[in-house]
Every structure is written in structure tokens, then in C-alpha cells.
């Protein structure tokens, strides 16, 4: 297989601190917003029904030979970010510059490319999917599948050349001796072997960047390490650069040079992998680390896990998106009307049925999210049949039952009204990515503006051995 030309380091390539390795990918403020269609009437009247901000201002730089891990849960925007790099998700804002070197066309701005232009670019940027079984056509033998990119991109029609390159790719990914595998079908192979074939197909066109979306999470534990090692070998031998998309910080630890933790379309923490694992700063990063099951019963459980799940991206929480789940959230994190309902529901799962029935009558209905035309920062909890003042009494009781609940740190005022109780929350502040040594983190806990706040909460529990019960 021809290796990369030697003269890729042309003068236009920005040199950097990373051992002056050239930048392969420069993403600035990337946005992928999907417009919501809304109801029929909205469309008729041309009203906008808002948008889902799947990716909302993501920036990172990737140097040649580097591995970037995009880590987060489903709905964090990690896969959409990866797909946008290949033109498989619409880029609605920001800039993405791909540079595979002068011989490969120099700097290319991806933002305004047409589909046809993207298609030729995909020779240089390849994608490996999660499910190797679904990525291979069951009716195509492996040799045909792996040779397919050569045909699609009309690289060569010379049979001997195709055969040579296919065999070479098979040997590289460890499907060796190649003869044994060329005529096999995907159904004849194990999961690991299928993923090897997928990798063989991905390196066929000699790409510069490989985007791997959860490449090992469908595989057995016993072969994950093998595939990760293979990918690292390929990276070294073929001078590849990787974007590794995963929800699993354990595999990322062995694979990535840089880690970007994503939550609801934004990067909340980014930095050198070693730094992120040694001293995770964002409470979300800490939670992700604490959630990884440890195959040693002596070190297991009692973790301070965040409650709930990733919220609806169409209606993201105010302030920091993570605040409703965050064990360390405090006053400026963006507490809002919706959180009152969540807190009540949380309480109602914990108390007895009888007490729930009583309290349901106490509260005269769902929390009103819009008070005097203001949405979010004020909430009205209406009094029910038990009469005036019942709602405020309930809130008081909830507060005394769990004074450490982070929610109360965000309540600025609780004002009894004739029809219930009105809560006012503190001004929400959007966290910005701030530099902390070699990492950047978007969390008010690490923002000097809030460092002097009297209500600084206790630090999030570390997943250390101290708080394990065995």
C-alpha cells in the first residue's frame, strides 16, 4: 500500500506546540441545529417551533497522529459531532477545516461543501460504525466488500492491483493468511473478525482521519483489547489520526491522547487524557468515571451517582445543562421552574402511598412554569383543596427533610400568595469553558467569579476507595 507522500509539511500548515505536528482537523464553534417542524398551524403561519441544538458550539483541534476521544452519554451530541465531520449531519454554524496535507488538496473548509464534494472527501475521512455486523453486506464476500471503496471512488480497475491491495489490507488487520478469508461471508465470522474486515475496508483508500463510533462496544470483553491494539498499530503504521466516539471512559483511557467530555451538545471538559483521569474537574466527568463497573467486588458500589437521565435537547435546562442531575450544583447553575416539579416527583417516589395521596390534594395541580409572563425563573406551586398556605408548608417540610438538596441553593425567594407559593430563582449563568492548567472546563465550581460565594457546596465524592463499603 502506498504510504503518504513525504512533502505533506508544506509551509501553509500551521505549526503547533504538539511537537510541531500539523493540524489535521480544526473545529471552531461547530453547530448542528435541527429545526423542529412543529404543528400544522405553526407551519401554516410560518411560526418557528424552535430547534434541537444537537451540537452547540464545539471547538477542538486535532494534530496528525493524535487520538481525540469524544465521550458522553446518548444525546450528548458526540455521534452528531462525528457525523458532521463526514457531512452526514448538516453543519449549521461554525467552521471545520480539514487538512490532510498539500498532496491531498491542502486546507478544505467543510462547512459549505456540497454532497458531491463530500463524497470525494470521504476518501480521506473514513467512518467505522459500532455494529460490524450491520456495516457489512451479508450477501457480499469479504474480498468484494473490502475492495468496494476502490470501485466506488474509481481508484483503479486493474484486477491485479485491486487484489494486491485487498490482500495487503487483510494482512494489516490480522485476517491472515488472507486466502482463508477472501471468500468468506460476514456470517462466517466472529464479531472481532467482522470489525477487522470493517477496518480493512476503512484503510483501503489510505485515509488521513478515521472517525470510529463506539468501535468496540458491541464486542466481547475478551476481544475489545485486541481490536483497540490493532487500531493503535494501524495508526502508527499508516500515520492515521483518530476521532474515537464512546461512552466508556475505561477504553478511552488506553486509546486517547485528548479527551473531550460532551453533555447536551457542548464540551464541558477537554484536555490531555492523563490530566482528565488524574484530576477530573467537572462533576459530570467525575460521575462518568465513578459509574464504570470495577471487576473487583472488594472495591465496588455506594457511589454518588447523578439522578435522572440526559434531558430533552429540544428544551435544555437553563444555565448549566447538567444542573438538574449534578450532585454539586449551587446557586448560579440555572435552577428553574421545571426543577420544582422534578423535586416533587422525586419526593413522591420516596414517600408512602397514603402520604402521596394527601400531598397530591395539598398541591392544587402541576407547577405553573410561567408566572406573570415570565418563563423559567419563577414558578407557582398552587394551593389545593387543603386551603391556603398548604403549598408553602409542603415546601418547608421538603426543605427541612433534605436541606442538602442542591435545589434549595438556587431558590432566591419563596413568597406566599393567595393562590399558592411563588418561587423565585437566582439568575442563571451559562458556564463558559475556562482554562485550568492544561484542561478547559465549563463549570461554575471552577469559575473564580463564584469562588467567593458563601454557599459553596461540598466537593463531589471521588470514586476513591474511601467511600466504598464492602
Amino acid at each position: 500500500m502506498p504510504t503518504k507522500p513525504d512533502n505533506v509539511l508544506d509551509d501553509d500548515t500551521p505549526a503547533t506546540a504538539e511537537g510541531s505536528r500539523p493540524i489535521v482537523l480544526d473545529v471552531r464553534d461547530l453547530q448542528v441545529h435541527f429545526a423542529l417542524r412543529g404543528g400544522f398551524a405553526d407551519r401554516l403561519l410560518g411560526r418557528s417551533s424552535g430547534s434541537v441544538k444537537a451540537v452547540d458550539g464545539v471547538s477542538f483541534t486535532l494534530h496528525r497522529g493524535e487520538v481525540l476521544g469524544l465521550v458522553g452519554e446518548s444525546g450528548s451530541g458526540k455521534t452528531t459531532t462525528a457525523r458532521a465531520l463526514l457531512g452526514l449531519a448538516p453543519i449549521t454554524g461554525g467552521s471545520v477545516v480539514f487538512d490532510a496535507g498539500a498532496a491531498a488538496g491542502g486546507r478544505i473548509e467543510l462547512t459549505h461543501l456540497r454532497e458531491r464534494q463530500f463524497r470525494s472527501l470521504r476518501q480521506k475521512i473514513q467512518l467505522v460504525f459500532q455494529d460490524p455486523h450491520a456495516s457489512l453486506n451479508p450477501a457480499m464476500d469479504l474480498a468484494t466488500a473490502v475492495a468496494h471503496p476502490l470501485k466506488i471512488h474509481k481508484v483503479t480497475a486493474d484486477r491485479a492491483e485491486i487484489d494486491r491491495r485487498v490482500r495487503d489490507a487483510f494482512e494489516r488487520v490480522g485476517l491472515s493468511p488472507a486466502e482463508r478469508y477472501l471468500r468468506k461471508f460476514p456470517a462466517d465470522l466472529s464479531g472481532g473478525q467482522k470489525q477487522r474486515a470493517v477496518l480493512a475496508r476503512a484503510i483501503m483508500l489510505n485515509p488521513a482521519l478515521l472517525v470510529a463510533d463506539e468501535p468496540v462496544s458491541m464486542l466481547d470483553m475478551s476481544v475489545r483489547a485486541k481490536i483497540l491494539e490493532l487500531m493503535l498499530d494501524l495508526k502508527r503504521d499508516l500515520e492515521l489520526t483518530y476521532v474515537y466516539v464512546t461512552h466508556d471512559l475505561a477504553t478511552a483511557k488506553f486509546f486517547c491522547d485528548t479527551i473531550a467530555i460532551m453533555y447536551l451538545g457542548r464540551i464541558v471538559e477537554i484536555g490531555p487524557a492523563a490530566q482528565i483521569y488524574e484530576d477530573p474537574k467537572h462533576p459530570y466527568t467525575r460521575s462518568l468515571l465513578a459509574a464504570i463497573p470495577e471487576p473487583d467486588p472488594r472495591r465496588s458500589v455506594t457511589r454518588n451517582l447523578p439522578r435522572g437521565e440526559v434531558p430533552d435537547a429540544a428544551r435544555p435546562p437553563m444555565g448549566c445543562s447538567f444542573h438538574p442531575r449534578c450532585p454539586a450544583a449551587f446557586a448560579p447553575c440555572g435552577w428553574e421552574a421545571r426543577d420544582v416539579q422534578a423535586l416533587l416527583e422525586q419526593r413522591w417516589t420516596d414517600i408512602s402511598e397514603q402520604q402521596y395521596e394527601t400531598e397530591r390534594v395539598t398541591v392544587g395541580g402541576p407547577v405553573e412554569l410561567e408566572v406573570d409572563g415570565e418563563l423559567g425563573r419563577r414558578a407557582l406551586l398552587p394551593d389545593g383543596k387543603s386551603g391556603s398556605g398548604a403549598a408553602v408548608a409542603l415546601l418547608d417540610e421538603m426543605r427541612s427533610a433534605d436541606p442538602d438538596e442542591p435545589f434549595w441553593r438556587g431558590v432566591q425567594a419563596m413568597q406566599p400568595r393567595p393562590d399558592g407559593v411563588e418561587l423565585t430563582f437566582r439568575e442563571p449563568v451559562d458556564p463558559a469553558l475556562l482554562q485550568h492548567g492544561s484542561v478547559r472546563v465549563a463549570c461554575h465550581l471552577h469559575d473564580p467569579r463564584f469562588a467567593a460565594q458563601p454557599a459553596v457546596p461540598p466537593a463531589v465524592k471521588e470514586p476513591s476507595e474511601n467511600d466504598t463499603t464492602s
Binding site: 490480522g174 485476517l175 478469508y181 466481547d220 475478551s222 485486541k226 475505561a250 470495577e294 471487576p295 465496588s300
Partner: protein
């Protein structure tokens, strides 16, 4: 139900075998498996894909596809399940034995409210319950799974993946079965939600006194949620014992290698098991792990291993643990093997 002795097993499986007929011959997916599960106990069943874990779980519940054959014994409280008619089995399932599936997304009817799912389940097995009793029991079970009563009449699409899995678990537990099989219940979920569900399964004993067979390929999950663990390879249980004991001193080389290849935060170097699990139509002779085993001896491919008890009380089938009188002279010499073709590395 006869539950006289509290330590008496809920479920006793003896020499269970399950075959599937294929064109190439019978696949011995479960090949002579024996184990007990006691009330309130969680037994983890681990192994690679294709080792027969799911077949074993489904075989116990009588949920195997046609074309399969079962032999051996499965006793559930003093009642023999192997050979039971489909209709008898159906009456047991749900009421006394439950199943939690891997994919919570596809197991709830999108056109039915959560309340209707519960009403249907309870009505089928306990037709005498009143409307109010049904609601009260369902809401109580949901609450213990962390689903607020306010969401009782919502539709499945109004819940997230983790909430749906909680609802699935609640649906399995609302009938108060004595035994539940959970087949990879967290595989489709995110890490944080997985941890939440594991905490729920971990508390099942305290909250419901339900015995659980937890099938997973992830040893980390077993360590989090199970008291005992059974390791399955090529249709057989090769090691079984107290989870702490097995994890700290694995007796079978397969268990040890599986543990070493599990990637966690405390992993310091990547490790994997060479080769892949065998074809169950024609498994290797003797111990079926011998072609991949770093400790293989001369005796391993020749004679089937015999189950022994270690001093720590684990059951293990491996010639490294004897019994010595059965090993022929020279049998303990290391096995000379030809190098694995790189191709055979999965």
C-alpha cells in the same frame, strides 16, 4: 408454594442439556449444567458470546424456539419443569418466574399506557384483583423502581430508555415472582443509567426477596450486583462460587483470563484471550478451553475435566485442580501446541 426451609434453593438445575438442530448437526448450546439459586440470591452468569448463557436462561423458562431439545432436570420449588406442557409452563411464567429483557425500547406496547401494561399483566395472572388493588400494587412497585406515581398513566414514549427499563423490571416484579432471569439488562443503556439499574438489581433482595439469574458478558457488572458467579464456556459451567472469592482468586484459567481482559479504570495493561469460543457443533476434545488455555497440559485435550471443589468452596472443572489420581502419568506436562494462526484471533 412450598418454601419450608429458607435455605432451600428456589431453583435447582441438574445436568441440563439443550441442543439446537442445524444442518451441520446438533449444536450443544448447554451441555450438562448444574447449579442452585437460593431465595433472594443473585447469581451472575458470565462468559463470551456463544457460550450458551442466553440459551440457558431461556431454557429454564421454557422459552426456547422450536427445533430445540431439552434434557436433564430443572426443579423450581419441588416442581419439575423439564417436560412440562407449554400451557403449564405459561401459567408458571410471570407469576412465579420472570424475565427481564435486554431491549427496553421494544418490549412495551407504544399504544398502551403504563397503567394498562400493569393491568394486563396482573389481570392475566390474578383475575380476582380489583381495579384499585391493581393500581395500588402497580404504583407501589413502580415507586420502588424510582418511577413517580404521577407518571402512571403516561405512554411508553414519554419515558427515557432508563425509565423504560425500570418499568420493565417493575412489570416483571409486580407479580412477585420467586425467580427472575435478567438477560443483559443494561447492555443497551448508558453508563450512568446502567449504574442506576445495577443499584436497583442490587437492592432486589432487600426489597422483593427475589432470586435473580443475571446474565452478562461484563464481569464488572457481576462484581457490582451478584453474590455468586458462574462462569460458562462452550455450554458448560467451568467455575462457580462466591463472587468475591472467584474474583480475587479465580480457579479456572478461563475465569482468570476473562478478568484480565476486562477493561476498567484500574486496568494497567491491555490483555486479551487469544482465539475465539469454539464451534459448538464440534467442540474441542477434552476440556474445550484447552486450545486457548495458557496452562494447558497433556491431559487436557485427552480426558474431559472432572468437577472438583477447591478448599475455598468453589466448584471448578479444570485438571490444574485434579483430581490427581485420574491424571495419567505424564499428563501434567505442558501441552505442545502449534501456533494459533493469526486468523483465528477473533
Amino acid at each position: 408454594m412450598n418454601v419450608g426451609d429458607p435455605a432451600a434453593p428456589v431453583l435447582s438445575v441438574r445436568e441440563l442439556r439443550v441442543w439446537y438442530g442445524t444442518e451441520r448437526g446438533p449444536v450443544r448450546a448447554v451441555d450438562g449444567v448444574s447449579f442452585d439459586v437460593r431465595p433472594g440470591e443473585t447469581l451472575g452468569l458470565v462468559g463470551e458470546s456463544g457460550c450458551g448463557k442466553s440459551t440457558l436462561g431461556r431454557g429454564i423458562l421454557g422459552l426456547l424456539p422450536s427445533g430445540s431439545a431439552t434434557d436433564g432436570s430443572v426443579r423450581f420449588h419441588d416442581r419439575e419443569l423439564v417436560g412440562l406442557r407449554q400451557s403449564e409452563m405459561r401459567a408458571m411464567r410471570g407469576a412465579e418466574m420472570g424475565l427481564i429483557f435486554q431491549e427496553p425500547m421494544t418490549r412495551l406496547d407504544p399504544l398502551m399506557r403504563i397503567s394498562e401494561h400493569f393491568a394486563e399483566t396482573l389481570h392475566a395472572h390474578e383475575p380476582d384483583l380489583s381495579r384499585q388493588q391493581i393500581d395500588s400494587r402497580s404504583i407501589d412497585t413502580l415507586r420502588r423502581m424510582g418511577i413517580p406515581p404521577t407518571r402512571y398513566r403516561h405512554y411508553p414514549h414519554e419515558f427515557s430508555g432508563g425509565m423504560r427499563q425500570r418499568i420493565m423490571i417493575a412489570l416483571a416484579l409486580v407479580l412477585q415472582p420467586a425467580f427472575v432471569v435478567a438477560d443483559e439488562p443494561t447492555t443497551a443503556l448508558d453508563v450512568l443509567v446502567e449504574a442506576q439499574i445495577l443499584a436497583i438489581l442490587h437492592d432486589l433482595k432487600r426489597n422483593f426477596d427475589t432470586a435473580l439469574l443475571l446474565i452478562t458478558h461484563n464481569l464488572g457488572i457481576v462484581a457490582e450486583a451478584c453474590e455468586r458467579v458462574a462462569v460458562m464456556y462452550a455450554g458448560k459451567i467451568v467455575e462457580e462460587g462466591d463472587a468475591r472469592q472467584v474474583f480475587s482468586e479465580p480457579a479456572h484459567p478461563y475465569t482468570r483470563e476473562l478478568l484480565r481482559s476486562t477493561i476498567s479504570l484500574s486496568t494497567t495493561e491491555l490483555h486479551y484471550i487469544p482465539g475465539a469460543p469454539p464451534d459448538l457443533v464440534d467442540p474441542p476434545s477434552g476440556c474445550s478451553f484447552h486450545p486457548r488455555c495458557p496452562n494447558a497440559m497433556q491431559v487436557c485435550p485427552r480426558i474431559d475435566p472432572v468437577e472438583v471443589r477447591t478448599p475455598m468452596g468453589e466448584r471448578v472443572s479444570c485438571w490444574l485442580h485434579g483430581p490427581e489420581p485420574l491424571i495419567p502419568p505424564g499428563g501434567t506436562a505442558p501441552l505442545q501446541r502449534q501456533e494459533l494462526a493469526r486468523a483465528d484471533e477473533a
